[in-house]
Subunit: 407 residues, 2 copies
């Protein structure tokens, strides 16, 4: 998108912004492609104290051989990386023109933010996980969501038929995208995300298997808005962004009838994404303030057997061994203890390891929506960083020795 106007091959628009050649630009300029609601910061900013270290040389063992953190960052289209250890910034790096003030689309990391809003509303008695979806949104009576409970939606265990196949133009996720303004709407597409949700059908019972479905988060967002009587951008601002001490406004794309894309529409700076990760590490607290209920996060961290079993049966198990999906968070369980993840396609990540008190946030522009090699390499790099920081073998020491040698 350089030139006035950009030459046609360089133009990024509603039809091509998700194509590989456009991603790096479009992820940083969502409000210029799609209408957005602002997520207003505006509260006291939480400081991010820093003691920077060079983590690039940390060895990472990949399936195809030994590597390093620096190499993993280089091969996984990294736009920004921030590592916090014990609440202190260890590394804050920007690539390819990213800057601390750049908002970057976080895709399905948005789901975890919306999930935290739901947690606040549950704590406040406005949303009941045991209630039927139709108690909040009667419009979905008769649709695939009829009979589902809020809990099923939170854990993506509805029986709704929905294909998350990004490579097929006719999969549900692509029709939903067109309905919610992420691509030009075709004449037969529903107008707006909520209109789309009412068209869904079931393919199995509610409350059984875990199937990752973006539509469930949009259903959750709809219930939150109805329960609170406020739109999602304002709920995130009031309940998460301001109390956690966000430094910058975020935003969330909205469709042609003003509905936010709850399942993936949030753009935020790397630093505010790191504050969100630290909030999750600290039992939902930011400073003295309890932002996300501690009990809500504790519940997510301690899955009931059926939550674990629902996950173990899926093809996510090899990538996230011992894992589960709860309250819009992913978990996996390496030897060192449970790790919470927020994940978005094309390489968006929040890695929260309470055992080592490590938070890693990464914004990326993988050309593919999903890429098992990139995700595996990223997770191994995160684990290697966490282990190094926990062991006290800091890159800083190495960097200082190196600096001394160079003098």
């Amino acid at each position: 998108m350089s030139g006035f106007p950009p030459s046609p091959p360089q133009q990024v628009n509603l039809s091509n912004w998700q194509q590989p050649a456009s991603l790096r630009w479009s992820f940083r300029h969502m409000r210029e492609v799609i209408p957005t609601h602002p997520i207003v910061a505006g509260g006291a900013v939480r400081p991010l104290p820093a003691r920077e270290r060079d983590l690039g040389d940390i060895p990472v063992s990949l399936a195809d051989g030994p590597s390093t953190v620096a190499k993993v960052l280089d091969t996984t289209y990294t736009d920004g990386l921030l590592v916090l250890h014990d609440g202190v910034v260890v590394t804050e790096r920007y690539f390819e023109g990213m800057a601390p003030s750049t908002r970057h689309l976080v895709m399905s990391v948005s789901k975890s933010i919306v999930g935290c809003v739901a947690g606040v509303l549950v704590e406040g008695g406005q949303l009941d996980p045991g209630a039927p979806v139709t108690a909040y949104v009667p419009e979905v009576a008769g649709s695939g969501y009829d009979g589902a409970r809020v809990r099923d939606v939170l854990d993506m265990r509805t029986g709704v038929a929905f294909s998350e196949a990004y490579t097929s133009e006719d999969s549900e996720v692509r029709v939903m995208e067109r309905s919610m303004g992420w691509a030009p709407r075709r004449p037969d597409d529903p107008c707006g995300a909520y209109a789309y949700l009412t068209t869904l059908r079931t393919e199995g019972p509610h409350g059984a298997g875990f199937v990752y479905r973006s539509c469930d988060t949009d259903m959750l967002g709809w219930m939150c808005e109805r329960a609170a009587g406020r739109r999602m951008a304002d709920l995130v601002s009031t309940h998460i962004w301001q109390p956690m001490g966000a430094e910058f406004d975020g935003d969330i794309t909205c469709d042609s009838v003003g509905t936010a894309v709850h399942d993936g529409g949030i753009s935020t700076t790397l630093r505010d994404l790191a504050r969100f990760g630290q909030l999750l590490l600290d039992d939902g607290r930011s400073g003295e303030r309890q932002v996300v209920p501690a009990a809500w996060l504790a519940d997510a961290y301690t899955p009931t057997p059926d939550v674990r079993e629902a996950f173990a049966r899926t093809d996510n198990e090899p990538m996230l061994p011992g894992g589960w999906y709860r309250d819009q968070f992913w978990f996996f369980h390496p030897e060192s203890g449970p790790v919470l993840l927020c994940l978005g396609i094309h390489g968006q990540l929040v890695f929260v390891d309470r055992g080592t008190r490590t938070v890693v946030v990464k914004q990326s522009s993988w050309p593919d929506a999903q890429n098992a090699d990139h995700l595996a390499a990223t997770l191994r790099a995160c684990l290697a960083i966490a282990a190094t920081l926990a062991s006290g073998r800091s890159g800083r020491t190495r960097a200082r020795r190196g600096a001394r040698r160079r003098r």
Copy 2:
């Protein structure tokens, strides 16, 4: 736009946002309807000291009888009003839910902001008013702009055929709106503002009569972007918004190829609009900083005879007696001395009276795009406010006496 989703009659979208029932909402939520470029503030904020007075009782003589400032505000769909006298806020009022942080579309007041960017570029030697348009934008060779000079564009004295008839769906201004993303594009409409400009034709010689044409400002914006190698949102941010001490980011709508709508797409808070007005009052200075070249504004304030004559022949003369149009500013000349105006449809106004050191900014939602009665009443109210402030007959004195009586 209340409800999740809003009921269809309440929905505001790209097709209906300019209809009377939508205006009050849409003017405050442009980024939620149309993609936007941010105009980043981010510099030191210029304080706005305040000594508030009640100006509502000031008599205003209208064509149909005596009125008051309060009544004029009430009958002209006022969303916000801020009056500065000698740089001090005399009145800052918000209506119908507006707030100090609300960005409100300023429509063609945008033109004057773009004009100031042009002034900065002229001062810096990047843009030459005497140069042909095609020196900066060769793409318009062979179009209506061929042979026009930058000066003709600055003063809207090109010979380009362009109808500003907002009430006709087929007028040039409406086709241009569809091309630049302000309404759904039809199959035959050009894609983007710049593509549209290349389709225009002439109806007369360049450099002759004044005809208010929005397209000329878009042509000016295109030349500015080419001359500076930067897009308009960034030019406004760097050259106007930050140095004048803006408090809030503004934004400007952009079309499907990322071109800003130079002629009317800027949204700003009332307070930053007031800072812009004060800048124009103070010969382009904000504090110690010369933001807009003083010589540029001085030139606009002292029209050559042909500039005045070009205006006197138009039907603008009765509304703006003694007036002229120069460098994207309107002027008129009441007995008290020349008054600079920035005007936007539906009641957007910056009134700058150097004689009384008064700035009045008003954001409104007139149901009609153009309304001579509303504009006449607003201008008379501004003149009455300015005369009262200059005379020292302050509303504050009256308000205090009233307050004492009420005690």
